[in-house]
Symmetry: C2
Subunit: 436 residues, 2 copies
Amino acid sequence: MPAPPKQSVGIGILGLGTIGTGTATVLLKNGDLLAERLGVELRLVAAADLDPHRDRGIDLSRVALGTDPAAVIHHPQVDIVVELIGGTTLARDLVRAALTAGKPVVTANKALLAHHGDELSALAMDQGVALRFEASVAGGIPIIKALTEGLVANRVEAVFGIVNGTCNYILTEMDATGAELDAVLKEAMALGYAEADPTFDIEGIDAAHKAAILARLAFDTPIDFAAIPVEGIAHLETIDTQFARQLGYVVKLLAVIKRAGERVDVRVHPTMLPEDELLAKVGGVFNAVVVRGDAVGETLYYGPGAGALPTASAVVADIAEIAESLIEGGVHRAHPCGNRTLVPRPLLPIAEVETPFYLRFAAQDRPGVLSKISGVLGNHGISIDQVRQHGRHQGGTVPLVILTHDAVEGKLRRALVEIESLGVTAGPAVVIRVEE
Amino acid sequence: MPAPPKQSVGIGILGLGTIGTGTATVLLKNGDLLAERLGVELRLVAAADLDPHRDRGIDLSRVALGTDPAAVIHHPQVDIVVELIGGTTLARDLVRAALTAGKPVVTANKALLAHHGDELSALAMDQGVALRFEASVAGGIPIIKALTEGLVANRVEAVFGIVNGTCNYILTEMDATGAELDAVLKEAMALGYAEADPTFDIEGIDAAHKAAILARLAFDTPIDFAAIPVEGIAHLETIDTQFARQLGYVVKLLAVIKRAGERVDVRVHPTMLPEDELLAKVGGVFNAVVVRGDAVGETLYYGPGAGALPTASAVVADIAEIAESLIEGGVHRAHPCGNRTLVPRPLLPIAEVETPFYLRFAAQDRPGVLSKISGVLGNHGISIDQVRQHGRHQGGTVPLVILTHDAVEGKLRRALVEIESLGVTAGPAVVIRVEE
């Protein structure tokens, strides 16, 4: 006999920061609606925070508040533990403790999942309890549900994501206004679109966390986060966003995840996208992810990638799904992909990746330079699609832009080393990969 | 004790047309992948079609093929019935028969759900078996899953959808090339983007079917399909798509679904959207749906709205979800919204809808006409945002375009009747609603 249905499911939140407060807000504000939809009350029972009693603008008088996360995890009425403290040390211990205690976990912690997702998923599977993390990628957009459930019938071919709103805001503004990165970044900080220390965003680390999570799900494979090639946007200048437009492209920081035979191609870097692609039109702090599957073709998911309430929307969706499975008495899925077996697939080394390239050289303004540079490229088997040369001097040099046809990155890098040694350019070339 | 896990789940397909063949193709081609992901084999056991043995380019040698749908429904090894014959008479009987026999049903049949969705959902709930229909709206895009599961924590405020690829193709081409509707429609037929009898598409009926399904799910309410105001695109001319561009808008056929206090505002009609909105940039045969929720804000879902394999992607996702619940021994959800109670909510009459309006008059080319027309609008409390008057003569008249501020449709219609009676315009005005 299945257990009799429970009329309420108890929620415990670890961390009442922005997302934690947002989650509590949605649980309280839309509690009646959720109870109607789910046939079960989602009851916020307990929460832990370093400063538990600060006024958060919501009524937590019926919630057991304290500073001890273990008390929340082991609270007898807490059926689902929601980890929202962030970081990869304490959070890891707490998620492990909850899973070990047989309690399902919902988390928004992308760093934790990027670094320890394989381990935590395995533990959840062993324990037969759910570990869900919709909010860890692209905030309020239900991209993990789409990828693992909505598109479950598909062999995934590729995933392309604008998954960092800070970088997308900066690139959108550079493109629209011609202002340089430092100025736009200051503005983004003033508007709350960038953190006081924006390193994780600007350097692409945050996007790489999300790439790791998406790649694991898209290809049912463990992912070694440290092996993902990551390049941020700090080196980009508006001269490049402007040349991109002239060539019919827009520069976006993309998480790129592709099937590469038996290997997987996972990387994060600034990417030139054709400007008529829908993904290229995603501006500001918004996120969007394209998923290409063998049956469905191309689909795109767009929405707010951050913010208290959008992120809480995803957290509460995970809570709701687990709550339903708890009251149904069924086995609840430990992994959002059901019983998928993870199969190790090697990462494609970046040197083997083949894309078109945008190259900008600071070239000496004298005859024969283009011929020398294009000669070296040709010797390395790299053919040229377009060339743009402008009279605009920059410290005695002029920008020379070359758009290549598909080229293997390793060959291109060797060609660039040789070009540098020619002595006809100042400094290294600016290199931006192109997706068609 | 829960039942021991089944190692395979049997699928029976009613109708081996385009979608049925696509579904069989995906089940066969990605069968191994699905078995790995789900931990259960999805086995195509039986199928019925008027012409069952026609060569469909796939190996159906291990499938019990026949012409009798009842034999499929009652086949002892068929655990899930997939209705893909279309129409609202036989299909309704067959879906009822399957549900009554205690077998879960997956369907892509939007007309059936629009007309009989309330009845069939109630029957499924009574029987405690699943009825799922992801493929009925927006083809391969998992919009129903997003709306009912991914955004379950939200009070839905509005849904705007481009849900008819034929109309979107036609409007995109009219906008891009300046060709008139009849010419583009012929081209669409030649390309297979429009059916031989395109009435259901062009008149907005197909989009209204999808609007009914989305409205039911968004607001947990029964929907009387016959009461939905529907206007197609047959009357649109490129002069209007061109004026729209001049005013910064694009014309799209939209399904519009909005919360209106305790009532729901559901309608289908050509709509002018600001051209910088992402939804306005969705071109060609593609579909896209915007969902606005109180927690998440605005999200958008884009992809192929039709086609054998994209639609099969959605059908098989539904099959997979039911199969998982069957092997988990849990109660499987009859309704994709879980246990939601449907609460009757009246439709907002179109006369009470308030939007800005685009009005194009064929006006006599003499002084005082604009003054008379704007005077009548003013008398009805309708204020004007912009006016465009062009010297371009059309049979003795010139086009006079007025963009109003928000106006209640009933008042606007009364004003238009009065304007017609002035004798300064030829024929009725072209009226297009605007969404900001």
